[in-house]
């Protein structure tokens, strides 16, 4: 597997993700309040927080699905609003909801996603993704006929189909069986070792503890903790204990 990153193409090295004063307001609700965050290339980074903390809003701003009220978001140096085409080419997003197009099969969904990113001849990588994510016997099955876990695998494959240097996983293991979780994390770890930056949100804090080098904790749209996983756990037994302690403050 080969992966692109900013240093590969002779560019100055930019952070994988850079948020500056990022705010988002939905009518009366302030979903994000001036978030500043930098994630370096190659990090396996966890974004934690209770429901409604602003995690998905932050991810949606990076993906271009939501527009920030104030502040800037950049992916490998490209502003997600002003240079949206360049930013999107470098980003793969696994959404939280099990969304799918009911008209098409797994292989068609992957071929379309590949095409949207300008990749016409991507069959070998699509085949590899199908095999690695245990979808071989479902490749020509309509998306409607897949179980929830299988649909989740397809979402992961769709996010990786253009080999993005930055991958965002928004609660990718919600409602997923143990077997898929283990195979999914093995694959994501491999991608991280190969150079991908991973930004993960999850409510399974033991997963974040095992996988992530650094953690940010969001509460009511503000970052209330940002440190290495080890430092956050210095005075706690686990990341979950640290999370509960910080959220209670």
């Amino acid at each position: 597997m080969e992966f692109a990153n900013s240093s590969d193409v002779g560019c100055p090295v930019f952070p994988a993700v850079e948020l500056t004063g990022l705010s988002k307001r939905y009518r009366q609700v302030e979903a994000l309040r001036g978030v500043n965050l930098t994630i370096a290339e190659g990090e396996f980074f966890a974004l934690l927080g209770p429901n409604g903390a602003g995690k998905t809003t932050l991810i949606n701003i990076l993906a271009g699905l939501t527009r920030a009220t104030r502040g800037q978001a950049r992916v490998l140096g490209f502003d997600v609003r002003n240079h949206y085409l360049e930013a999107r080419r470098r980003l793969g997003v696994v959404p939280q909801e099990l969304v799918f197009d009911p008209f098409f099969s797994v292989r068609e969904a992957l071929q379309f996603q590949s095409g949207y990113f300008g990749l016409a001849h991507n069959t070998a990588w699509i085949d590899e993704l199908i095999a690695r994510l245990g979808l071989s016997d479902k490749a020509d099955t309509n998306m409607r006929q897949l179980s929830g876990g299988m649909k989740r695998r397809v979402l992961v494959a769709q996010a990786l189909v253009h080999k993005p240097p930055v991958i965002i996983l928004d609660e990718p293991t919600a409602g997923v069986d143990v077997e898929l979780r283990q195979s999914l994390w093995a694959f994501i770890r491999e991608l991280n070792r190969a150079g991908h930056t991973i930004l993960l949100t999850t409510h399974y804090l033991e997963e974040a503890q095992q996988l992530c080098n650094r953690v940010a904790m969001l509460r009511q749209g503000e970052i209330v903790a940002l440190d290495t996983t080890a430092n956050l756990m210095a005075s706690s037994d686990s990341l979950e204990a640290a999370f509960v302690r910080i959220m209670a403050q």
Binding site: Y26, T66, L91, E97, D101, F112, Y116, G118
Partner: protein, 253 residues
């Protein structure tokens, strides 16, 4: 320019209706033919709109154009609302597709469906009656222009609508009156002054009239006057659709 991206989205949109061809193309053709059967049966021999042109022959181009308009609208509007409601529009919104590529893919796929249905109606028309074809180029120009205009209305409606009920409202309270009050079934010169004025203010009238001119070499107004009305109308609709996409209206929150 992401040419592969544009082609992929266009192909996806075409496949979307192609996979249910019976519903998206065959059924509207049958509906138009039923209109032809009923109206021709009721009015044949009693009405002569153009000298020497039987009513059933007069009716066919109007029905073909009505089918083009309604199906072009239905394709882009239903595709967008379905994608919004199921959430799979996110796959397109996170992709590196420009606003223009997004718009073009939806417009062209919807126009193609409209044109396929229109071609189906015309083929059936050529088979059952002796339909003349005076100016094929005018027929093609008007068919494409009208399909694009209503594909654009479909994009606008699909982006604006939050639920299928909204789309149904546009379909029943805007599209249907626009098409029915445009001279599909009659010449507007047979109308009383008020309805004549209403029809003359309806851009769809010029589309149907111009389309008919391509077959019979006679029409209620000059096709060039029609073009002067319909072309800006289509461009404005495409511009409005483009603006909505650029602003991310009801697409990017």
């Amino acid at each position: 320019m992401n040419g592969i991206g544009l082609w992929t989205l266009l192909r996806k949109e075409i496949l979307r209706f192609w996979k249910v061809l019976l519903q998206t193309v065959a059924a509207p053709v049958l509906t138009a033919l039923l209109y032809l059967l009923v109206f021709a049966q009721a009015l044949e021999g009693r009405v002569e709109v153009y000298p020497g042109v039987a009513y059933s022959v007069f009716l066919i181009p109007g029905l073909a154009m009505m089918s083009i308009l309604q199906n072009a609208f239905a394709n882009s509007s239903s595709s967008l609302i379905q994608s919004k409601i199921t959430g799979n529009i996110a796959f397109i919104l996170i992709a590196p597709l420009s606003h223009l590529e997004f718009l073009l893919a939806y417009l062209l796929a919807a126009a193609l469906r409209g044109l396929l249905v229109g071609a189906g109606v015309l083929l059936a028309g050529f088979w059952v009656v002796d339909l003349p074809l005076a100016y094929p180029l005018w027929v093609l120009v008007w068919a494409c222009l009208a399909a694009l205009a209503f594909a654009a209305i479909g994009v606008i409606a699909g982006i604006w609508a939050d639920k299928f009920d909204h789309l149904s409202g546009v379909q029943n309270f805007i599209i249907l009156p626009l098409t029915f009050l445009s001279g599909v079934f009659y010449s507007i010169h047979s109308l009383p002054p008020f309805w004549l004025a209403v029809s003359q203010a309806n851009p769809v009238f010029y589309m149907i009239d111009g389309f008919r001119y391509g077959f019979f070499a006679q029409a209620d107004v000059s096709p060039w006057l029609g073009l002067a009305v319909a072309l800006p109308f289509t461009l404005i609709l495409c511009g409005v659709a483009m603006q909505l996409i650029m602003r991310g209206y009801k697409l990017r929150h």
